[in-house]
Amino acid sequence: MSASSFWSSPRRIGAMIMRYRFLMMASWPRLLELAYWPTIQMILWGLINRFMVTQSDWMAQSAGLLIAAALLWDVLYRAQLGVSLVFFEEMYARNLGNLFVSPLRPYELALSLLTISLLRTLFGVGVAAGLAIGLYHYSIFDMGLPLIALFINLLIMGWAIGLMIVAMVLRFGLGMEGFAWAVIFAFAPLSGVYYPISILPEWLQPVAQLLPSSHVFEGMRLIMNEHVFSITHVIAAAERNVVFMIIALSLYSFAFYSARQRGLLLQMGE
């Protein structure tokens, strides 16, 4: 690989990120949306947390438990939405034809989606984390370095689900759009965001263990309640994320192949 071809790939990814930056700069409702939902979530869960601390000994052990859970859940949600919504923007714009007659590779499109998702997540969750400090005097950053391990695991799981949605939209069209907003909530009950996995019915607990997110939230509670960082939970989450990512990338590749077989790339749009 020559030096110029080595750099041309980051240049194309950079062009896609620039395209998204231009889009955001041109649309204040899109910018507002980035911070709106995390803010509402934070206000709501902060107030619930404040009430529950006075009502429950378990909650009183760690004052910010629900706030931390809401913030980390939002990492997963934002990461997934970041991938799927940015891809939808290309479909709304009927721009896929132009993108794929350029030298942009499907993996470069995926990498640009993941990068934009990271930036969106950092912005949205950053605003919410700042609000938690301002309104409830709770800083999620008090968790220290373990927070990075939890964040990365949730980010990767969100990316994997986002890529799976992109694959489904490529295969079945924009009719799947509504799914992008709703699919993540199917993972919420099994992830044990606001309660331990042990309260799930016994037969459901092994299913929950298959999700990276259930290990992240179990790990979060251990840090907050017992001040213990469980590397076992982090590794378990990472292992499951590898499987999630392999499935996501396989579906994404297959969806592109299928779209090229069926001639959908030139036609896709609303």
């Binding site: 110029s4 041309s8 240049r11 194309r12 950079g14 062009a15 896609m16 620039m18 395209r19 231009f22 889009l23 041109a26 649309s27 923007e89 714009a93 009927r94 721009n95 034809g97 132009n98 993108l99 794929f100 007659v101 350029s102 030298p103 942009l104 590779r105 192949y257 090229r260 077989q261 069926r262 001639g263 790339l265 030139l266 749009g269």
Partner: protein, 257 residues
């Protein structure tokens, strides 16, 4: 081998585009049926045919957007089915039916596409194209706010950003008024002559085809039914102009013996 191929290209001994036994089936429907043709470097050819003749399907396969059922496509000597990313930086495509993001300005869109094609001096290239295609006053305007004719010119400018050696065009002057269409054709001709580019255009505008194209490939029901220069076809079918030839072929009239 590579050096020999390059030398052959420079000498113009290899075709810029070679399509051989190209076939595309959608289940029982045959969209393109054993299509074969080649286009020498530096020539402008037209792909003509009625609606559903298989023109857009053929262009899509040439661009790598659609996988053929069988057959081969070689562009600049590169196998488009196996190795399209080697050819795509040297090609481009324009169609009024493929949109450009509406919320971005014309300049922003061109900067993004310039980045995708890896241009080193995008701003300078945009300035040159904006002058050639009278886009300078439009650069700061949102693409979505432009008239259809202005959009077509932007789309053309986008397709010339990387100074492609191969340019595939689907109705390049659709929606343009006669004066602007004429300007665009003049600019295209100048571009083609300056860089020796190879152009394949699908069009329903027979005057455009007569003016720009050395040769016409006539398609019907996915098959290549005839080919020749516009003058040859007019003579062969005993008609006054290419439009009448087109109508004859569309009707299914047998070639006069």
């Amino acid at each position: 081998m590579i050096i020999a191929t390059r030398q052959a290209h420079r000498a113009g001994t290899l075709s810029a585009i070679e399509v051989l036994h190209l076939q595309k089936n959608y289940g029982d429907i045959i969209a393109v049926d054993q299509l074969s043709f080649s286009i020498p470097r530096g020539k402008t050819y037209a792909l003509l045919g009625g609606n559903g003749a298989g023109k857009t399907t053929t262009l899509s396969m040439m661009l790598g957007l659609l996988l053929p059922t069988s057959g081969t496509i070689r562009i600049l000597g590169i196998d488009m089915i196996k190795d399209r990313f080697k050819a795509l930086p040297r090609m481009n495509f324009t169609s009024p039916y493929v949109d450009i993001p509406h919320r971005l300005t014309v300049e922003q869109n061109l900067r993004v596409y310039g980045g995708l094609y890896g241009l080193k001096n995008v701003k300078r290239r945009i300035t040159v194209l904006a002058e050639e295609y009278h886009l300078t006053p439009l650069l700061k305007r949102r693409y979505g706010s432009l008239s259809q004719g202005q959009k077509t010119r932007v789309s053309l400018a986008k397709s010339l950003l990387n100074e492609p050696e191969i340019l595939l065009m689907d109705e390049p002057t659709a929606a343009l008024d006669p004066y602007t269409a004429d300007q665009v054709r003049t600019a295209l001709k100048a571009y083609q002559e300056r860089l020796g580019a190879t152009i394949l255009l699908a069009s329903h505008n027979m005057q455009e085809v007569e003016r720009l194209c050395e040769k016409v490939l006539m398609m019907k029901k996915g098959r290549l039914v005839d080919q020749g220069s516009p003058a040859e076809l007019i003579t062969r079918y005993g008609e006054q102009n290419l439009e009448d030839v087109f109508i004859q072929i569309a009707k299914g009239t047998e070639l006069p013996q």
